[in-house]
Symmetry: C2
Subunit: 267 residues, 2 copies
Amino acid sequence: MWKETAISNAEWTGVRLRDLLLLAGVNPNDTRIKHVHLEGADTDLEGQCYGVSITFEKAMSPETIIAYSMNGTEIPPDHGAPLRCVVPGVVGARQVKWLKTIRLSDVESPSHWQQRDYRVFATSVEPGDELDWKSIHSIQEYPIQSAFCIPPPGTKVERAEGTIDVAGYAWSGGGRGIIRVEVSGDGGKTWQSAELEQDENQDLDHMWAWTLFRASVKIPEGVNKMELVVKATDRAYNTQPETPAGIWNLRGLINNAWHRVEVEIID
Amino acid sequence: MWKETAISNAEWTGVRLRDLLLLAGVNPNDTRIKHVHLEGADTDLEGQCYGVSITFEKAMSPETIIAYSMNGTEIPPDHGAPLRCVVPGVVGARQVKWLKTIRLSDVESPSHWQQRDYRVFATSVEPGDELDWKSIHSIQEYPIQSAFCIPPPGTKVERAEGTIDVAGYAWSGGGRGIIRVEVSGDGGKTWQSAELEQDENQDLDHMWAWTLFRASVKIPEGVNKMELVVKATDRAYNTQPETPAGIWNLRGLINNAWHRVEVEIID
């Protein structure tokens, strides 16, 4: 889904980046190493390879792998064959496809993609302003978000149905598990808790996949339109802002405001 | 400060809980150990000792210590002498004072304080509802928050001053560093970035203390009142909700909505 965040889930098989680095003789206690630069084989129009970096700590975490298999078979070319980096809990931009080079450093990758492409400006920075890229931080972990997949916007529901079935996903960065999803049928005035689909042995502090939710929302008497809203809460009790007003930024990145879908009630 | 979150900073000296557990023969790879129960010497009216638990992972993290000294001297009795647990990035309720007992377990502490006292209900749970404590999660890490310390509410500022100096703190749980604080003088319509006080070598992924901020907000022409607002962003791009409406909960816990302070402009 591109519109409500480009997000999907797959089963990845690979070797731990940690094991690879240790095998290459890297000293895990070398405090000079702060970042790991990852470079793909794909190039921009000027011949520059795609490149970003993750922290050395994340690179050494057991969940970070160099994948050679996706969903039990060879990685399709579009998804980074033959090798891609999978960095759970971190924004997709760091999960380098067609992986070619791994480099250790005391600084972040100097690439365009690390230094400029995925950085979020303050609300006060406006079109035409001089952009001070150095003063803002590269996105690594994501904040909490949630979205409806069902129903799509503009859906018409017969009043006689009595309820609307809604479903979607919630996700938070850094492995912070989803502990609650609430939905509203009246634009956020009243709420109900949704049912969550999670493995009951799920480790809430290392949850790398989305949580699916579903709920049945009552159609109130006499309404012709309903604004469905969803909001989620993660393990650290982070929540989503009500509207994008307070998180507006020049490049439109990381809009995790409550997701709203309007449906029409027909007789 | 109790009102805008009970929060303070101190310098703690102690031994790593990790080292203590290893010395006691605990196997760090024993997957049966999921939680560490901490019990203080203080009791409730029924003689029950205060007790809570943290995850085994957090207990084994290098920042979690059993402190014997505060700000370079003996811990004052009020702060937990002779020993207290300090669990950076986690809510104060887990930082057990007058520490008496440490116990390993596969489940969370069965105490009132772990099972009931610090759990946040969904917005839909109202006074009089039956409370299903089992279905909600104990607070461990905190979400991002920020607050003004200066000026206090009800301050009167002479129009001739031209600007209002504001200052306060921002903080987020789990060691997620503060990367941005923005303040507004018009209730959140327009914003400016505040100056942050941080060590320039601060590790943004392990920031256990607050970040102080300061800014000078212009007094617009013709206004008699200004609503000052502050919001912060952490390393994972978590932000605060605009109002408490979407995070309202029965017990009033973890209200991290934008902090607002009204000041009067006098001629």
